[in-house]
C-alpha cells in the first residue's frame, strides 16, 4: 500500500503545471520571472529548464499586453496559456483584458469563442507587504460574469483544481494565497482533477456553519477544534471555487445548522462574504435561527506595520467571537 506523500501547496501547483505541459504542447506559461527565476514564489521552478524559453516565457512589465496576448492566443485555439499575474493587486493595470475581453468574448461572439486560459495570481496579507501587495480581490473577479474563480486552501485541492482549470475551456482566475505556499499536505503523485463548482466540507458539524475561503479555512478549522472542547460542533465549508459556486452544499449546511458565519479575507463591502450572506437570507431564510455573522477585514487598505496588519486580518479570536455570538 502506497503511502501518500506530503508536499507543499507550491509543489502541488508545480506538479499540476508540469503535468499539463508534458501532456499538451499547447500549454504555455507566461509572466514576469516565471522562467529562469522559477516564479518569485517558486511555483514555476524547473519548468524553464524542462520546456525551454519558447513555452516558459519571461515577459516585460506589460500586464495588459501579456494577459491580452494570452487571450488572443487562446481565442485562436493555437495555445492554452497559463498566465501569471505576480500579485492579484496588479489586476488594475490589466483588468480590461480580463473582464471586458476574456470574460465576454464567448458571449459577445454568440458562443463561438473558447478562451481556454488560466490566470494564476497571488493574494493575501500577513507579510507586511502593505496596501498594494496584500489584497484579496476575488470578489471583483466573481462580480464580472464570464470568469471562473478558483481559490484552493490545501495542497490536495490546489493540484486537482489547477489541472481542472487548465483543462477547462473557459477563462479561469486561479488565486493562490501566499500564506499557503509552504503549507504541507497529502498529495497523490498521479494527476487527478477536482471539478470546478464543488465545495468541500472540510469538517462536519451541527451547531453552526462557517463558510471560509483560502487561508481562512485553516483559521476556521482551528476555531472549530477549539470550540469542540466546549461541546460546540462547527461545520466548515470551503467553496473552493467562488465561481461557479456550489450553492447546494452551502445551503444544505445552513439548513442543517440554522446558523452561518462567513469568513473571508476580502474587503467587506460588496464582497464574497456579503454574497454568501445574501444567498442564505434569500434561499435558506426559514432555516436561519440567528443573524448571519461576517468576519472580514475592516473597510480600509491593508496596513504595513505588523501590529496593524494582525489587527486587520481576521483572527481566530474574531472568528470564535462571531460564532459564540450566535450560538
Amino acid at each position: 500500500m502506497a503511502v501518500v506523500r506530503e508536499i507543499t501547496f507550491a509543489q502541488a501547483l508545480n506538479e499540476a503545471l508540469d503535468y499539463e505541459m508534458s501532456k499538451d504542447p499547447k500549454v504555455v506559461v507566461m509572466g514576469e520571472d516565471v522562467g529562469v527565476y522559477g516564479g518569485i514564489y517558486g511555483v514555476t521552478a524547473g519548468l524553464y529548464d524542462k520546456y525551454g524559453p519558447e513555452r516558459v516565457i519571461d515577459t516585460p512589465i506589460a500586464e495588459s499586453g501579456f494577459v491580452g496576448t494570452g487571450v488572443g492566443a487562446a481565442a485562436t485555439g493555437l495555445l492554452r496559456p497559463v498566465v501569471e499575474l505576480m500579485f492579484i493587486d496588479f489586476l488594475g493595470v490589466t483588468f480590461d483584458q480580463i473582464y471586458n475581453q476574456a470574460a465576454k468574448m464567448r458571449y459577445m461572439f454568440g458562443g463561438k469563442a473558447k478562451i481556454s486560459m488560466v490566470l494564476r495570481t497571488v493574494c493575501g496579507a500577513g507579510f507586511s507587504a502593505a496596501a498594494q501587495h496584500s489584497q484579496s480581490l476575488h470578489a471583483i473577479f466573481a462580480h464580472v460574469p464570464g470568469l471562473k474563480v478558483v481559490m484552493p486552501s490545501t495542497p490536495y485541492d490546489a493540484k486537482g483544481l489547477l489541472i481542472s482549470s487548465i483543462e477547462d475551456d473557459d477563462p479561469v482566475i486561479f488565486i493562490e494565497h501566499k500564506a499557503l505556499y509552504a503549507v504541507k499536505g497529502e498529495v497523490p503523485e498521479e494527476p487527478y482533477s477536482i471539478p470546478l463548482g464543488e465545495a468541500d466540507v472540510k469538517r462536519e458539524g451541527k451547531d453552526v456553519t462557517i463558510v471560509a475561503t483560502a487561508a481562512m479555512v485553516h483559521k476556521s478549522l482551528e476555531v472549530a477544534e477549539n470550540l469542540e472542547k466546549d461541546g460546540i460542533s462547527v461545520e466548515v465549508v470551503d467553496p473552493r471555487t467562488i465561481v461557479p459556486l456550489d450553492v447546494d452544499t452551502i445551503i444544505n449546511s445552513i439548513k442543517k445548522t440554522g446558523k452561518l458565519v462567513v469568513v473571508d479575507e476580502g474587503y467587506p463591502r460588496c464582497g464574497f462574504a456579503t454574497d454568501v450572506a445574501a444567498l442564505a437570507v434569500n434561499k435558506a431564510f426559514d432555516s436561519l435561527k440567528a443573524p448571519v455573522k461576517i468576519v472580514t477585514p475592516p473597510a480600509t487598505p491593508v496596513p504595513f506595520s505588523p501590529v496593524l496588519e494582525s489587527e486587520w486580518i481576521p483572527s481566530t479570536e474574531k472568528i470564535e467571537k462571531a460564532v459564540r455570538e450566535i450560538l
Partner: protein, 332 residues
C-alpha cells in the same frame, strides 16, 4: 501595379465597393431605426483594409476595432451573419448578443471588433505567438486608429511582439481624429510610424487613400513577418467621410474639410481612375461589379430583416462553454 494580376486588382476594387455599399446601406438602416446601438462607419477608409487584406490568407488572423465592418468584409467574413448581427437577430454572427462593436468571424481568422480602443492589439500579438509556437507561416494583423496609438495596449503589445519577434503587423488607420480630437493634438510627432523606433521595428507611413500604395507596404511587412523577421508598424493616413458614429454633429471639423477629402481623396474614385486610365478594365466591368455587390448587400439585408429575433431565454446562454456543477447563473 503592373505586377499585380488583374484578378487581384478586381478583387480589391470589388472589396472596396462592397465595404462602401455596406456602410452606406447601414447608415440608411440606422437612420430608419432598424439597426440599434452605436455604429461607426468605415466610409472613406476602404483602401486600408483592402490593401492589407489583399496580402492575407484565410488562415491569417486579424483583430479589428469599433470601426470594424470594413475589416470584416475584406477578410471574407460572412456578411449575412454580420448584417443579421447588426439588426440584433438570432442568425447574427453573435446570435444578436454582440452587435456592431463585437462582430467576429473566427472561421476566417477575424478575431473580433472591439468596443475598447486598443483592446484588440494584444490579441493579435497572442495570435502571432500561437503561430510562432506552432511553427506556422501565418501572420496576424492588428488594425487600430490614431487614437488607439496613445493607449497602453499599443505600447505594451508592440514591444512584446518586438522582443518575441512575432509575425504581427500593426496597422494604424490614422484618420486624423479621435472622435473630436485632431491628430495634431494627440501627438507632437508627425506620423504614428515614427513610434516604430521606440520598439526597434520598421515604421512606415503610407497614403491610406491609395489602395496600391497600401498593398505594397503591407506586402513587404507581411512577407517580412512570414519570414520570421518580426513585426512592422504601418501608419495609413486616411480620413473618415462620415461622423465618428452615426448621429455625430461633427462640431469639431468644417464641412469644407470633409468635402475636400470626398472630392479629392476618395479611394474608390482614385483607384477607378487608375484602372481605367491604364486600360486594365472597362467602365462596364466596373459597373457590373457594383451591380453584383449591391445585390449581395441587399440579400444580406433581406436575410437580416427576415431572420427571427433571439428568444428571451437565450440571454442566459453562451457565458461558459463547459458544463460545470454549481450555479453559473445566479437566480434570486
Amino acid at each position: 501595379m503592373e505586377e499585380i494580376s488583374k484578378e487581384m486588382l478586381l478583387w480589391m476594387y470589388e472589396m472596396m465597393v462592397k465595404i462602401r455599399e455596406h456602410e452606406e446601406r447601414v447608415a440608411e438602416l440606422f437612420a430608419q431605426g432598424k439597426i440599434p446601438g452605436f455604429v461607426h462607419l468605415y466610409v472613406g477608409e476602404e483602401a486600408v483594409a483592402v490593401g492589407v487584406m489583399a496580402n492575407l490568407r484565410k488562415e491569417d488572423y486579424i483583430t479589428s476595432t469599433h470601426r470594424g465592418h470594413g475589416h470584416y468584409v475584406a477578410k471574407g467574413g460572412d456578411i449575412k451573419a454580420s448584417m443579421a448581427e447588426l439588426f440584433g437577430k438570432k442568425t447574427g454572427s453573435g446570435k444578436g448578443k454582440g452587435g456592431s462593436m463585437h462582430i467576429a468571424d473566427l472561421d476566417v481568422g477575424e478575431l473580433g471588433a472591439n468596443g475598447i480602443v486598443g483592446g484588440g492589439i494584444p490579441h493579435a500579438v497572442g495570435a502571432g505567438l500561437g503561430i510562432k509556437l506552432n511553427g506556422l507561416d501565418n501572420v496576424a494583423v492588428a488594425f487600430f486608429g490614431d487614437g488607439a496609438s496613445n493607449q497602453q495596449n499599443f505600447h505594451e503589445g508592440i514591444n512584446l511582439a518586438s522582443i518575441l519577434k512575432l509575425p504581427v503587423v500593426f496597422v494604424c488607420e490614422n484618420n486624423q481624429y479621435q472622435i473630436s480630437l485632431s491628430y495634431d493634438k494627440q501627438q507632437t510627432i508627425k506620423s504614428v510610424a515614427e513610434r516604430g523606433k521606440a520598439y526597434g521595428i520598421p515604421g512606415v507611413s503610407v497614403d491610406g487613400q491609395d489602395v496600391l500604395a497600401v498593398y505594397e507596404v503591407a506586402k513587404e511587412a507581411i512577407e517580412r513577418a512570414r519570414r520570421g523577421e518580426g513585426p512592422t508598424l504601418i501608419e495609413a493616413k486616411t480620413y473618415r467621410f462620415r461622423g465618428h458614429f452615426e448621429g455625430d454633429p461633427q462640431v469639431y471639423r468644417s464641412k469644407e474639410e470633409v468635402e475636400w477629402w470626398k472630392k479629392n481623396k476618395d479611394p474608390i474614385k482614385l483607384f477607378e481612375e487608375k484602372l481605367l486610365e491604364k486600360g486594365i478594365v472597362t467602365k462596364e466591368e466596373l459597373d457590373s461589379i457594383w451591380e453584383k455587390v449591391k445585390k449581395e448587400i441587399e440579400e444580406a439585408i433581406k436575410f437580416a430583416e427576415e431572420s427571427p429575433w433571439p428568444s428571451k431565454e437565450e440571454v442566459l446562454e453562451d457565458v461558459f462553454s463547459t458544463p460545470t456543477k454549481g450555479v453559473l447563473v445566479w437566480q434570486w
